[in-house]
């Protein structure tokens, strides 16, 4: 191999391992009771409520109306004597290479990962009472992915360059789902997450906007339906829009992730930028609650999209009519909130000039001066029109109301 001149580096890698998951509380295998003399907190046992409710174990059985109360115990956690470790078995194969004196270099990796006995505290039926939360070993998830990275560095006359690119992709799938943990994942009675990604989204499908009363009467029964409101698809065709009319709306994992790093030098000048993006994958744009619906967060500022809402004069809009109430339950998770997650960003760019050493030769204070201008988050490209166009500020942070700030920095580096 030493005689192969074009090949400067070649390494095959392979690794295999099993790891556990330590994100688990102490003594979770035992049934535990607790006393709660009387702190206030959430009163619900499957959901959150306001936090001023009693949920304690003390009671004024003497009817004194004040003073110390007798108090009891309540189950805090249910027993699971069969509790065991969650384990992830990972297998990784890779190759590192370098050609032509390492001017071309890179790597390729392929991995598979299987996580078994995933620890989860599934929600439980109300009839079981408080504190029946039980840590159980549940689903199995498989992960597969690859990454390819390549770089090229060289120079031509005064020009030096170093270009690195990487591209990777992975996907996951729930491959085993015991009945005990079905409720811990999206889905309904008829459809479970088995066979889907753990990042899959589940909800109603918006079919359009009711244009008139005929549309309302012609469509399946939908509480709150009215002209100008979102029409949900009767997926099971039973004539009523209900919880069974939900389906898988897409996966939040992008099909491709990529990055490009370019570093150029020409004499005393330098120029570099970093570009990064994802392709495919959906996001849930919850910010729409503040741009399309007046009734969901009363009292907050509303985004500009509200100006283009459906009216009887603007029937082409796909934004439902403005309303101060949410009678149609448009807050429900639906395809209305599903948008394209693809984007490409110029994360940063930098241009610099180093004052030549010979210009500094008549003094003994400075060793070097470098002037530069640098920008971060210079540009974001994403889908702005068409099907599933992204309507928020930044597809990388779809729920965020604020864009990531763009920052420009100019500087002088002095070396003494």
């Amino acid at each position: 191999m030493q005689n192969v001149g074009w090949l400067s580096d070649l390494k095959l890698r392979s690794s295999w391992g099993i790891t556990g998951n330590q994100e688990i509380g102490d003594i979770t295998s035992l049934a535990l009771y607790r006393t709660n003399y009387g702190t206030v907190g959430q009163t619900g046992f499957n959901q959150n409520t306001a936090s001023y409710g009693n949920n304690g174990t003390a009671y004024d059985i003497n009817g004194a109306g004040t003073g110390n109360l007798p108090s009891g115990y309540v189950l805090a956690q249910a027993a699971n004597p069969n509790l065991k470790w969650e384990s992830t078995r990972e297998f990784n194969e890779g190759i590192d290479f370098g050609f032509l004196q390492n001017s071309i270099y890179g790597s390729f990796d392929y991995f598979t990962r299987k996580t078994k006995n995933i620890l989860v505290v599934p929600p439980y039926a109300g009839i079981e009472g408080e504190g029946e939360s039980e840590t159980v070993n549940g689903a199995t998830k498989s992960n597969k992915g690859w990454e390819f990275a390549i770089g090229y560095q060289n120079h031509a006359g005064k020009l030096t360059y170093n270009i690195q690119a990487n591209i990777f992709s992975f996907h996951d799938k729930i491959t085993y789902l015991p009945a005990t943990v079905v409720g811990a994942y999206p889905g309904n009675v008829q459809q479970t997450i088995l066979g889907h990604s753990s990042f899959a989204q589940f909800g109603y499908v918006v079919q359009g906007i009711y244009q008139n009363q005929q549309d309302v009467t012609g469509h399946a029964t939908q509480p709150g339906a009215a002209p100008g409101r979102l029409m949900y698809k009767d997926l099971n065709g039973n004539g009523t829009i209900d919880a069974l009319d939900q389906t898988w709306l897409g996966n939040q994992i992008p099909s491709l992730n990529y990055g490009l790093n370019v570093d150029l030098g020409y004499g005393n000048w330098s120029f570099a930028f970093f570009l990064q993006g994802v392709h495919g994958g959906i996001v849930s744009n919850q910010h729409k609650a503040n741009t399309d619906f007046l009734g969901l967060n009363p009292g907050v500022n509303i985004g500009q999209r509200a100006l283009h809402a459906w009216t009887t004069q603007n029937t082409g809009s796909d934004i439902p009519a403005l309303s101060l109430v949410d009678n149609n339950d448009e807050e429900r998770f639906s395809s209305y909130y599903i948008e394209s997650g693809s984007y490409m960003k110029i994360r940063n760019a930098r241009i610099g000039y180093t004052i030549p050493a010979k210009a500094l030769r008549n003094q003994h204070v400075l060793d070097g001066i470098n002037l530069f201008i640098m920008g971060e988050n210079l540009a974001t490209f994403y889908k702005k029109h068409g099907d599933k166009a992204f309507t928020g500020q930044d597809p990388e942070n779809p729920g965020n109301n604020y864009p990531i700030p763009r920052r420009l920095t100019a500087g002088i580096n002095l070396s003494f």
Binding site: Y33, Y37, G56, T57, S71, P123, E128, A243, L324
Partner: protein
């Protein structure tokens, strides 16, 4: 660094020690946690009593988003007597969905919240019951009494579940937790499931002492009273579409007998109706079963009535949030005719709006105990006049406010909790007047209206005598109080049909805004007619009801929460029409 070394050697020492110890014991992997309470710590008589207390605590473990104690959302704003109120239609918008009926969905989180919370009460009662049953009477002489208490409490939560959801699964104390989600919600017919609840109350009635020694602890009269109520609900037989198909005479006879047993207890009507609704009057002679609240009790905020915490007005002495407001229909219902009797069919033809309307019409005095009216003294304070600027959103919900669950700002029972007010005034679940009217209803429905007459008249007489606390400081009354007893042959013809109408109206007046109205209408099988007629008129007064509609054969009950259907993998059967 030294500390670190010490720490390391301590670990080494510990490891060596545990190895040594471990080699002596076969069960070295079994670990008994210190400072945590496991089931084996709860087998003493003292701990068993404490588990029973924890079950009692569930009676009042709630707040306005999830009400178990007060029923103002479930029984009041879902009926013709009250509006949601608040700062906007969407303020606690889930209540608006209930109020409009046709906006209710099967996956509303609030449906599941109340379901799970009521079952938490059932589970605490069952946990306590298991502990009690494991005791011997030698070690635990109160065993039978405590068993009866647990079954009383369990039946109370089942009753609330049954009223709301109709088809409910029953958890037995001996069911293992894992098997509970396998219990169907249609295991029993409608009639038999009332029977299951009645059975628990009957056991309680037969095994509880007449005097439990503690005001807040169940006695046999509580159980007889609740049993009478359960049998009354059971008597009205419903088909699968929630329509009343007949009235069981055997059940009615049981109502009368059990009501008599309850009324044989040491209870009497409060002299003044007001005493039922004041802090000073709590645990009075009329109160049979009340949820005990307390203040300055060492808990974080006091064990307070937080279900009503958002119902105080925006008057400066309160501040928030004006929920639970009487409808115009409700206010109008207090009108009386020239004889001092209700206007059964015509009361809603004209509205009581101006100050003068309350002086020119005859008024049942219970109005000024139930509804706050601008210009009238507020909550028995002659110098504190309810002002229209206390009203939060008159353009949507009008100018009337609730009063029964509100206490004066000066009450020692009030605690400011965040922007809200919690009160330590008890909430009555059963007061004697209710038992009297259950008995009267059973008598009328079994063809004996004459024996019902004195029961109804006793309440009307008490109402007539309850004008002392509602007046202005100078002794004048804010309304023209005119109420009379029913006097057959003089001011009425007391036949069965008339008597039933009188009974229905009496319940409305006596329990106005107390959260029973909706359940009364469903029991009588008239919810759809009454509520749609109410909406037809009320929406001309208040536009927010413009699209409201009650769907017959569906809206009598809430849907079984979709979450629960999902969590039982489709076992639970959805209610009719949903």
């Amino acid at each position: 660094m030294k500390a670190y070394r010490n720490y390391k050697s301590a670990i080494l020492l510990l490891a060596l020690t545990s190895l040594t110890v471990a080699s002596c014991s076969k069960n070295f992997l079994n670990y008994n946690p210190q400072g945590a309470v496991t089931a084996s710590d709860l087998t003493t008589p003292t701990a068993t009593d404490a588990l029973v207390i924890a079950a009692y605590a569930s009676l009042g473990n709630d707040d306005w988003e999830n009400m178990v104690s007060s029923q103002w959302v479930w029984g009041s704003i879902r009926s013709d007597e009250a509006f949601k109120g608040g700062g906007s239609i969407t303020d606690n918008g889930q209540f608006n969905q209930y109020e409009q009926y046709n906006l209710i969905t099967t996956d509303m989180p609030s449906n599941d919240l109340i379901w799970a919370t009521l079952y938490a009460g059932v589970a605490r009662a069952n946990t306590a019951l298991r502990a009690v049953e494991a005791q011997t009477t030698a070690a635990y002489p109160q065993k039978i009494q405590r068993e009866a208490e647990c079954r009383f409490l369990r039946a109370h939560f089942y009753f609330l579940l049954k009223e709301l959801f109709k088809n409910i699964p029953f958890a037995n104390e001996n069911d293992a937790a894992d098997s509970l989600p396998l219990v169907s919600n249609v295991q029993y017919s409608n009639d038999s499931s009332w029977g299951v609840i009645a059975n628990d109350f009957l056991y309680a009635a037969q095994n509880l002492p007449a005097n439990s020694g503690q005001v807040g602890r169940a006695n046999k009269y509580w159980a007889y009273a609740y049993l009478a109520k359960t049998k009354l609900y059971q008597a009205y037989q419903q088909d699968a579409t929630n329509q009343v198909t007949g009235i069981d005479q055997g059940d009615l006879a049981a109502v009368i007998a059990y009501a008599d047993s309850a009324m044989a207890g040491p209870y009497s009507l409060d002299a003044d109706y007001a005493d039922n609704f004041t802090f000073e009057g709590e645990n009075g002679p009329e109160s049979i079963f009340a949820i005990q609240f307390s203040v300055a009790d060492g808990t974080q905020i006091g064990r307070l009535d937080m279900a009503d915490a958002v119902n105080y007005s925006i008057a400066s002495q309160y501040g928030c949030c004006s929920f639970h407001l009487p409808s115009q229909n409700m206010v109008n219902a207090f009108k009386t005719d020239a004889n001092g009797l209700p206007e059964f069919t015509t009361f809603n033809n004209t509205s009581l709006l101006t100050q003068n309307d309350f002086l020119t019409n005859g008024i049942d005095p219970r109005l000024d105990h139930t509804c706050a009216i601008p210009g009238h003294p507020f909550k028995y304070q002659p110098d504190v006049i309810f002002d229209s600027n206390w009203v939060r959103l008159p353009s949507v919900y009008g100018y009337h406010d609730n009063m029964k669950e509100i206490q004066p700002a000066t009450c020692a029972c009030l605690v400011k909790v965040g922007p809200f007010f919690g009160s330590s005034k008890n909430i009555d679940v059963i007061r004697l007047a209710d038992v009297m009217l259950w008995k009267a209803e059973a008598l009328i429905q079994s063809g004996d209206p004459n024996d019902a007459l004195p029961l109804i008249n006793a309440l009307r007489t008490r109402a007539a005598n309850s004008t002392g606390k509602t007046r202005f400081a100078d002794g004048t009354a804010p309304s023209n109080y005119r109420i009379s007893t029913y006097q057959p042959g003089v001011n009425c013809t007391w036949d069965q049909a008339y008597a039933f109408q009188a009974l229905q109206f009496e319940r409305r007046m006596e329990f106005g805004m107390e959260g029973t109205r909706f359940f009364d209408l469903v029991r009588w099988g008239i919810a759809a007619d009454v509520l749609n007629n109410y909406i037809a008129v009320e929406k001309t007064r208040y536009n927010f009801l413009a699209n409201a509609q009650f769907t017959k054969a569906r809206d009598e009950y809430l849907p079984i929460p979709q979450t629960e259907i999902n969590l039982t993998h489709g076992l639970y059967q959805q209610n009719n029409g949903w």
